[in-house]
Amino acid sequence: MKSETHRIIKKLFLNASAIIGFVLLGVFIVIAIFAPFIAPPKEGRDPYMMPIVTWTSSPQPPSPEHPFGVAGKRDIFYGVIWGTRTAFRVGIIVTVVSTLIGLFIGSIAGYYGKLFDEILMRITDIFMAIPFLVAALVLAAILGSGLNKVMIAMTIFGWMYPARLIRGNILQVKEEQYIMAAKALGVKDYLIIIRHVLPNTIFPVLIQASMRMGSLVITAAALSFLGVGAPQGYSDWGALLNYSRNWMLGGQGEALLYWYSTVFPGAAMVLFVLSWNLVGDALRDVFDPRLRV
């Protein structure tokens, strides 16, 4: 077994994009953990709300006490740092919950097949046929706006992708001999699923989950653009970008006058998504049995 893990680790670190991915992710994790020290919140205040530093709403250029400048009356640096925590919170909770739901439904549909498969897959098709943005907007109106309400919407309309993936994999794995053998031995169904079926089909789901970790941040940003999701002033990159979009064309003839209000949150978001994607790619290259190159 040793040589196998050795081979994987070696393989991971040979691949340049994997290194970039892991390093970036490490940086973000560190920032997220040490956010209270890097950007200390005012006591008694919700740490996720960026502190108000001025009342004029036009952005101010970077200055010593606001290294990333001011946008929407608030300090961008604080927003970007705490935005890392928001990104992880949104990413992890939504991905984990929706993947679990997806796994549950997908494995039942895939493993038991026939009637289960037909019904569950029809339900999945229905959920997939509803355009996500519309569903999220209506849900936000019902639950009220704010980031956690939007997370619920993303979960309710996010489980279908892992479900379809796991079902497809299970359909394939189900035909393998070792599953027949386990059945022949009289092992109970749910044990077969957990011990035999899932371990062999989990990798693609993990890889897909890592990709979705990144993309959720973008979906949240899109929802902020539509006026739902994190309110202005909340440390969320999407909210920050939603504010700075009105200043992106610059001013007084200088197209890049307010560059900082877009560049810092934008860069944070791009690097965050990039890291997850590169990690996902690296994992797939290593774990996908086919790609033993």
Partner: protein
């Protein structure tokens, strides 16, 4: 093979490059970009700016203001402005006589007749759609807020109970009653009298002329013939109720218009929120200088601004906070104008029990009781805790003024020397200590302030309250929440908001329009201020408001309105934040532009033209 395909595709795209800058684009078309699109083109129903700015130039009114002077009228479709002196206002201000101009043509060639004028007003009154503007005319002529109330008073049962929702009588023999109602109550009030139209008011109504001039699109004059042909009320006494409060989209005038104004209605492209008007060459008066108007709703600020810079737009709507983006660009100039509008902060004296913005619902540090603001000290403490000057200087970038109360400057009843609230945290602390005999200061409180997302000024106002009040006492907690418009409306209209920021744009430049709206118990903002306030208003405000409306002597009305504003100040009924000065960025090649404080749009379409 693939690379070639991609390259050809790119080549085709770039083919049509033509650098277009500097010289005037579309010289005889005026392109104005704003947000949203008209709600309807039926003047009887329309009650929003986007509709107003189109209707104002397609239809015309009996009279108009004399340019930007809102105290003087000039005749339009009427040949003379009725005054007591010229004998056209009689019976102590209850009878108004308008001689109708001849030789005026509608866009489809029909002639303007006095019957058209009578029909226009009667049709709108009998239409009186919910949330429509007709309450102004019904209040002026009949002293009732809605046709429903008028019918209830005259016939005995409200109209809504006699007619089902698709316009049929629930009990057929009510028909005779309703026909009589029309013949005896409505018809005699607006009569054609050899070439003129006579209005008979039930009691003197000082601002009656203010409801009729240009920009008051609810008093537009239709062509009876065309309206009947398109399917509106046919003018007979029988069956008028079929057209009462019909759904907005089923009105025949929803997307059609045939007026006498300087512009013809050409097209309303609802996939692009774009209205196109073309100059009406058969116009009786001085023709418009520009040939075509494009009134276009583009909601994304970045896109509007880019089109202005590139010259594809001549004028755009700009929220104040983006001023320094367009300030010193060479081919763009910025005009400004003070609208007759006031943004104020009001309290709900008895919040609806089911509201989830009360927290625990008691003075225990994480909530407020439903009648928190019925205690004057709480209201006064809030009045000291708001930094009015910073709001104007920093948030509105100096483009705003502070009227003492709800009556904006430039109108009767406005008096800058009336007492004003000032920002003084020390006094705020004193008041909080006195509130609810000390319990507020001891246990603290928590309340939620709501704003509708996208409205930067209202959001900043809430955040200012939060910063200042929370700095007084750590036990004070104010939660600021942004919600989508439907949710804001739900909370505000059902009385769930403890306090709210709201603005009012003048229907017509008369103090009654503001005072009634803000302070009268059945005014638009009366309801949401809660039970306790309605009782307070009924006792000490309604009488004066109603008296002031029927007082014809200007100086007496001025004192009455000042009296009302003093009461409002002493009882801290509302905190007026600002009267906004709007900014209008446009290309330097725009000439003849003029701003009228009462207009609903942002450009005088009949006066603008484009020249270097």
């Amino acid at each position: 093979m693939k690379k070639i395909l991609v390259l050809t595709w790119l080549l085709v795209f770039v083919l049509g490059i033509s650098v277009a800058f500097a010289e005037i684009k579309n010289p005889d078309t005026y392109v104005y970009l704003h947000i949203g699109e008209p709600d309807t083109l039926d003047s009887g129903y329309a009650y929003d700016n986007a509709s107003g700015e189109v209707l104002t130039y397609v239809y015309e009114n009996l009279i108009s203001y004399d340019g930007v002077n809102l105290q003087k009228f000039i005749p339009v479709l009427a040949t003379e402005v009725p005054t007591v002196e010229n004998g056209l206002i009689k019976d102590n201000g209850t009878t108004y006589l308008f001689p109708i101009r001849e030789g005026v043509k509608f866009h489809n060639g029909n002639d303007l007749t006095p019957e058209d004028v009578e029909y226009s007003f009667e049709r709108n009154i009998l239409f009186d759609p919910a949330n429509g503007p007709q309450w102004m005319i019904i209040e002026a002529l009949f002293n009732f807020q809605t046709l429903d109330d008028l019918v209830a008073d005259k016939v005995g049962t409200p109209l809504t109970e006699m007619v089902d929702e698709n316009g049929n009588l629930i009990n057929p023999d009510d028909a005779t009653k309703l026909i009589e109602f029309y013949q005896q109550v409505i018809d005699p009030v607006i009569e054609v009298q050899d070439g003129s139209v006579v209005f008979r008011l039930v009691r003197p109504f000082a601002p009656f002329l203010y409801i009729l001039p240009k920009h008051a699109y609810w008093s537009n004059i239709f062509d009876k013939e065309t309206c009947v042909e398109w399917g509106c009320w046919d003018g007979n006494a029988d069956g008028w109720w079929k057209y009462y409060n019909v759904k907005k989209e089923s009105s025949p005038l929803y997307d059609k218009a045939n007026g006498t104004g300087p512009f013809k209605f050409t097209e309303w492209d609802r996939t692009q929120q774009k209205v196109t008007l073309d100059r009406f060459d058969g116009y009786w008066g001085e023709k418009a200088k520009i040939a075509q108007i494009i009134d276009w709703g583009i909601d994304e600020w970045g896109t509007r601004r880019a089109m202005l810079e590139a010259g594809d737009a001549d004028q755009i709507y700009m929220p104040a906070q983006y001023l320094d983006q367009v300030k010193d660009l060479d081919d763009i100039k910025i005009e400004s104008g003070k609208r007759i509008t006031v943004t104020a902060f009001h309290f709900n004296w008895t919040v609806d029990k089911t509201s989830d913005f009360l927290g625990s619902g008691a003075l225990d540090g994480n909530g407020i009781p439903a009648d928190f603001f019925s205690d004057i000290h709480c209201r006064r403490a809030f009045s000291y805790a708001f930094d009015y000057d910073t709001m104007i200087q920093e948030v509105l970038l100096g483009y705003g003024e502070r009227p003492p109360s709800v009556i904006p400057s430039g109108m009767l009843g406005y008096n800058p020397d009336l007492p004003m609230f000032e920002f003084d945290l020390a006094k705020a602390e004193e008041e909080f200590k006195k509130a609810w005999d000390g319990k507020v200061w001891e246990n603290g409180f928590k309340l939620t302030l709501l704003y509708n997302t996208g409205n930067d000024a209202r959001q900043t106002a809430c955040e200012m309250f939060k910063e200042n009040i929370e700095s007084l006492n750590p036990k004070f907690k104010i939660d600021v929440q942004g919600v989508q418009w439907p949710n804001y409306l739900d909370a505000y209209k059902s009385g769930k908001l403890p306090a709210f920021v709201i603005g009012w744009i003048a229907d017509y430049p008369d103090p009654h329009n503001f005072i009634f709206t803000y302070f009268h118990s059945s005014g638009v903002y009366g309801g949401p201020q809660g039970e306790a306030y309605i009782n307070f208003a009924q006792e000490n405000l309604n009488p004066i408001i109603e008296a002031a409306i029927s007082e014809t002597d200007a100086t007496k009305r001025q004192n009455m309105y000042e009296e009302i504003q003093k009461i409002a100040y002493e009882n801290v009924l509302g905190l007026t934040f600002y009267q906004e000065i709007a900014l209008f960025p446009m290309k330097t090649w725009v000439q003849g532009w003029e701003f009228n404080p009462i207009q609903s749009g942002e450009a005088n379409y009949n006066g603008v033209y484009k020249a270097e």
